[in-house]
């Protein structure tokens, strides 16, 4: 892929889209991998006053002073705003003080439920994945969360095999009914587009197509009859300044390489 001046990769596009989901001044629970870079990009562009909360026990309102691969790298601890207990930060989350978080997944369904635990039958699983980590907590307790994942038909399923991180369950009203205090997914950033949720039915809808991707291609890679938003947009390509920043955050292309 190419902007006017520069080549970019699919991860570059996804990170840039993730960054645009963050508003200035928001408190963001920063996850691993692409979301971490998305937070750094937002922080360095339109959201300088965003605060990053990391479940290891870190709060910081600045970007790490050196490129890092993961949130526990020492530059991310250096001159943090607060180093504390995981429970302290989970308390902020559970109180409703965290605006948004980002979660990856192996399976997602039409109501945004995410699975990162078992593919297949729990009693006799085909595949065992790493599990929740903090993802279930972010999906349960944040004001909203954004899902980032590969858009393939075996991943976009009518109903996930296991709900690791609750979305909208089986539709409108479900979260309140099971006792969740707030929240739910607000967007799904995939390798093919961006999906959002119908405010009435809580069902996923295609909202934006990445450059070069067609509606048919998205539908073919989604395991249920996906609705398409009336105003379908085109995901903007990363700007040159954004790409320059991303190359600074991930100079070896570990996360954003082709």
């Amino acid at each position: 892929m190419a902007t006017e001046n520069s080549e970019y990769t699919l991860p570059h596009l996804m990170v840039t889209a993730a960054a645009r989901e963050i508003a200035d001044g928001e408190v963001i629970f920063v996850g691993m991998r692409l979301p971490m870079l998305g937070f750094f990009l937002a922080k360095s562009t339109h959201a300088p006053n965003a605060v990053g909360v990391y479940e290891l026990g870190i709060v910081r309102d600045t970007v790490a002073p050196e490129p890092i691969l993961t949130m526990g790298d020492l530059p991310n601890l250096c001159r943090a705003q607060w180093l504390a207990d995981t429970a302290d930060l989970m308390g902020l989350l559970q109180q409703g003080l965290v605006d948004a978080s980002f979660i990856g997944g192996a399976q997602v369904d039409r109501f945004g439920n995410l699975n990162t635990t078992y593919i297949g039958d729990i009693e006799n699983p085909g595949t065992r994945l790493p599990g929740s980590g903090g993802a279930c907590d972010l999906a349960s307790l944040g004001k909203r969360h954004i899902i980032i994942m590969a858009h393939e038909r075996h991943r976009f399923v009518p109903r996930v095999d296991y709900i690791t991180s609750p979305g909208y369950g089986d539709g409108a009203g479900w979260r309140r009914q099971v006792g969740l205090p707030r929240g739910g997914p607000s967007a799904v950033i995939t390798t093919r587009g961006i999906l959002r949720f119908d405010p009435d039915t809580c069902e996923m809808m295609l909202a934006s197509l990445h450059p070069g991707v067609t509606v048919d291609e998205v539908l073919a890679n989604t395991g249920w009859p996906l609705r398409v938003a009336g105003e379908l947009s085109r995901t903007p390509a990363p700007e040159e300044a954004e790409l320059a920043m991303l190359r600074r955050f991930d100079p070896k292309g570990y996360w954003t390489g082709a």
Partner: protein, 309 residues
């Protein structure tokens, strides 16, 4: 001010003694409590060398340590939020064991695990949370129950107390009585120490008690509850230790391949664990170039505080 030496018995013993004495087969062990940092790899490797069996491992995310212990056939059960390799994804020994159903798994979130330990730390039988409601964690974790708040009538998740037999905590420095300084992100370390029946400290450096008592707020848990103190330089490698060394990303990336098949893992274990008998062996294996590369290059020293009167 500090204790006269005749009053107090040292708790400093070798790593092999500490693991032999305080981690019998069938123990429930909490490790990797700071999550990505300060993971007690040296202690975990000693468990593999001693062929521990039927352990229950407890931790939020263990990075690759739990995967290694599963590969070493030390594990019967895992109570964790996440098991894998943080920067590469799956932990293949864990995955094989789970898919072959040779280990039992209690699926936590990081919050439910923290609350289970905090319940034990506080001496109560459960802690309430608002997470995991509607999730399938309830299907694979019998430590969770829904309950009704006695004041608001709201639905909550109750997490049963988790009381490990032993916590293994890697620290920057400790005195020989178990009073240890830890800095950096703390994860669930404080509640894990308070919740556990016994505590093994592995320390980059053993220092005099005067060093530790110069800053009692930096102490992670009171020494009177610690059972053993082990001098273990580079004992958290390849995870990072604030003030000591950076994360060794290459080791994590290499482990991905090394754990992909049982044969590759057996080879890795023979070279990296079974052939190593102490920290000198381990440092020789790492090599000076590598340890130099991981050393801190930029220093930020804490502002001093006065505890005088």
């Amino acid at each position: 001010m500090t204790k006269a030496p005749e009053e107090t018995q040292t708790k400093k013993i070798s790593l092999s003694q500490a693991i032999a004495r305080f981690v019998p087969d069938d123990s429930a062990v909490v490790m990797g409590t700071a999550q990505e940092t300060l993971i007690p790899f040296a202690a975990g490797h000693e468990m593999i060398r001693q062929r521990k069996r039927d352990l229950t491992l407890i931790g939020p995310i263990s990075d690759i340590l739990f995967d290694q212990l599963v590969g070493g056939r030390c594990v019967r059960k895992i109570r964790a939020g996440w098991v894998g390799n943080v920067i590469t994804g799956s932990g293949y020994n864990f995955r094989r064991a789970a898919e072959n159903r040779t280990i039992e798994i209690e699926d936590h979130s990081n919050l439910t695990l923290s609350m289970g330990l905090r319940a034990a730390a506080m001496g109560v039988s459960f802690m309430p949370t608002r997470t995991a409601l509607g999730s399938d964690l309830y299907k694979t974790n019998s430590s969770l129950k829904t309950m009704t708040c006695p004041f608001t009538g709201n639905t909550l998740t109750a997490v049963a107390a988790i009381r490990p037999d032993v916590a293994i905590i890697h620290v920057q420095r400790s005195d020989e009585y178990g009073n240890a300084h830890v800095w950096g992100n703390l994860g669930i370390t404080r509640e894990a120490c308070l919740a556990s029946q016994s505590i093994i400290i592995t320390a980059e450096e053993i220092v005099s008690s005067d060093v530790i008592t110069s800053d009692p707020n930096r102490v992670i848990t009171p020494g009177f509850r610690v059972s053993a103190v082990v001098h273990a330089p580079w004992g958290a490698h390849p995870s990072p230790v604030p003030g000591c060394y950076n994360r060794d990303h290459e080791a994590f990336i290499a482990y991905r391949t090394a754990s992909k098949t049982p044969e590759a893992f057996a080879d890795w274990q023979a070279r990296q664990v079974d052939a190593v008998h102490n920290s000198d062996d381990y440092l020789a294996l790492l090599g000076k170039e590598r340890t130099h590369g991981l050393a801190l290059k930029h220093h930020v020293i804490s502002e001093e505080t006065d505890y005088g009167y």
